[in-house]
């Protein structure tokens, strides 16, 4: 056993050194005479050594045990976990160790949780691969920013409008392409995401181009402003409740706002799964031909999932715009779509709690390592690969049929 493992490890080390030789062994340096090379072969030796040891350890250690499979009939357990998570989320800003920084990060995680739940309708329930989800997020964000700046509409009026606009874009895009096979849908949505970004970047008159839109109006609570000084004819939140003004109020308010939006998304998903259209999504995901022969119109059913997912992305987008106060095309690159899709798939498709877990893991954790900026994305990509290799069907992938005829065996 040992010689075989050793030979394997030596081979892996050799491959690693050949891989590292050009990319790590030489560094391209700009100099006065043009591009020159600088050698640093110690890095190659390091890479080969690390891979050699790693391979040896993997070969000699017994395979990693997977997470214990969730026993059947864990519905109550999951429900309980869901409630506990919801309560934790509700009291989080008032916990003693919760400072402004933590609440801010929790807000960011919740945005991704909401986006994940939105995309889950499309990918997890209806089984449509959408690689351009960020486009609808962008449409929502820009809709709010433009509506509020052009017509002076408040956040609460713009929110449904932004959702409707995003859903409209979803319908317009979905209508021609949803008749196609899954993989074509993937590339068309990917292309659509890029198109939206290119348009945002180049249509300077409307979108401000690469400079983006700044000074976006912040939301108010029933007309109570969160600014230090209230605008004409309004009261500030602090005055109304007789509190001292603090910038933390807005941070906490935004946190609860996104929590409410996210929970609404969740509730919507949980309920619609029990309706005929929700059942049709899942049926369509499992077997399209069977669905067609039962008289379900695949295009209409897919279109509804696509548009609803887009609508939630639109809501999340307008929240993002109002939270940041500034948006630019930079925030809506493909990598965002990839992160959201990764959250859905890593969480275990269709599992609402799994998505929360994955969002905390993928968005929350890296936020704490901001100082390691350079290595952050490297580790992020690596984590995506490793989690997939370890649990190919997601962290919480136990999938119960939502409806069953007769007693379960």
């Amino acid at each position: 056993m040992l010689p075989a493992a050793l030979r394997d490890a030596v081979l892996a080390g050799l491959v690693a050194s050949a891989l590292a030789l050009p990319m790590l062994g030489f560094r391209l340096v700009d100099s006065a005479t043009g591009l020159t090379l600088a050698g640093r072969f110690d890095l190659v030796a390091w890479a080969a050594g690390i891979v050699f040891c790693g391979r040896l350890v993997i070969r000699l250690l017994p395979p990693l045990p997977g997470l214990p499979a969730l026993p059947a009939g864990t519905k109550n357990l999951r429900l309980g976990a869901g409630w506990i998570l919801a309560v934790i989320a509700l009291v989080l800003p008032f916990l003693p160790f919760a400072d402004r920084n933590l609440v801010d990060k929790a807000t960011l995680v919740l945005i991704y949780v909401m986006l994940g739940w939105g995309l889950n309708i499309v990918v997890g329930l209806a089984g449509l691969l959408d690689l351009g989800f960020v486009a609808f997020y962008a449409v929502g964000a820009y809709s709010y920013a433009l509506l509020s700046q052009t017509f002076g509409l408040s956040f609460w009026i713009c929110l449904p409008l932004a959702g409707m606009l995003s859903a409209g874009f979803g319908l317009a895009l979905g209508f021609p392409v949803l008749r196609l096979r899954g993989d074509y849908l993937a590339i068309v949505t990917l292309g659509f995401g890029e198109i939206i970004r290119v348009i945002l970047q180049n249509w300077q008159d409307v979108t401000g181009g690469p400079m983006g839109i700044s000074g976006i109006e912040r939301p108010s609570l029933f007309g109570l402003s969160f600014k230090a000084v209230a605008p004409e004819g309004h009261q500030t939140f602090a005055d109304f409740f007789g509190l001292d003004y603090s910038a933390d109020h807005r941070v906490i308010f935004l946190y609860f706002l996104i929590l409410a939006l996210a929970l609404a998304t969740n509730l919507f998903t949980l309920r619609i799964r029990r309706l005929p259209v929700g059942r049709a999504w899942e049926a369509l995901r499992e077997d399209e031909i069977a669905c067609r022969s039962l008289g379900i119109n695949p295009t209409a059913v897919k279109l509804s999932a696509f548009a609803l997912g887009a609508m939630f992305a639109g809501f999340a987008g307008s929240f993002f715009a109002t939270r940041q106060g500034f948006i630019s095309p930079e925030s809506f690159t493909f990598i965002e779509s990839a992160v959201i899709l990764a959250i859905v798939v890593l969480g275990g498709m269709g599992s609402q709690i799994g998505i929360v877990l994955a969002a905390v893991l993928l968005v929350g954790l890296p936020e704490w390592f901001r100082e390691l900026q350079q290595y952050r994305m490297l580790a992020f990509g690596g984590a995506m690969v490793l989690i997939m290799l370890w649990k190919p069907s997601g962290l919480l992938s136990h999938r119960e049929p939502t409806i069953r005829l007769g007693d379960p065996r």
Partner: protein
Amino acid sequence: MEYFLQQLINGLTLGAIYGLIAIGYTMVYGIIGMINFAHGEIYMLGAFISLIAFLAATTIGGTSVPIALLITLFATMILTSLWGWTVERVAYRPLRGAPRLAPLISAIGVSIVLQNFSQLAQGARVKPLPPVFHGGITLMEGNDFTVSLNWLQMVIMALTLVLMAGFTWVITRTSLGRAQRACEQDMKMASLLGVDVDRIVSATFVMGAMLASVAGLMVTLYYGVIDFYIGFLAGIKAFTAAVLGGIGSLPGAMLGGLLIGLIEAFWSGYFSIEYKDVATFGVLVMVLLFRPTGLLGRPDVEKI
């Protein structure tokens, strides 16, 4: 007329590059049915490796440019294909038989890793290479516009033709190609008949990476600037080309690549350079609407 001809030449050159990348997508998709998202990154690595190899070859003492380029070509093809092989071995092979989206997420992860790895290893600044080839031939002289075909464009087209011919020969005439076609039709049956499926899939990734690395070399020479981010957009466009030509079809990938190159060149030449990507995807959507299986794709019959 002169302007049109010049755009045609530029478009064909660009299209040859896209076509070479697209073949990697279409082959992998044909055999294991996954979108190899990291393929654009392999092309980016090819560009970097070719630049490094070229500089190394000229530093060591190759004053003769053609010999240095020949060395570069082989070094790039070998080293980049090793990257392609490793990616498949590490990130995709363990996921064979996993749910359909698992390899895709893994591929996106690999793509992020490779991009950031190159950024860390080689820096984020663009890497300029002064032009290696000078001159060309003048095809046509108009009143105020000259149509020229430079040596590099000729080399790119010739090399693409040679590679395509060699590649077609491998697929249609050798036992490896026969095994690949068998795996494409029915992987389980092929393995029952004694085809080593893992080896064939590896070979497919190696071949795809080789072609992509040549595309990377061409881009390095043609545009003279590369950075760690070029793989993303080129990857999307090449995949678009593969879909446009009918995914799974090799001549389709080349045709799609040429079409995408032409659309881009003409759109930038006659309309606006900013919206050339929009035009590309617009054409893709139109084609898919009227020919859902791509230009040369076979309509897939669903059997129950």
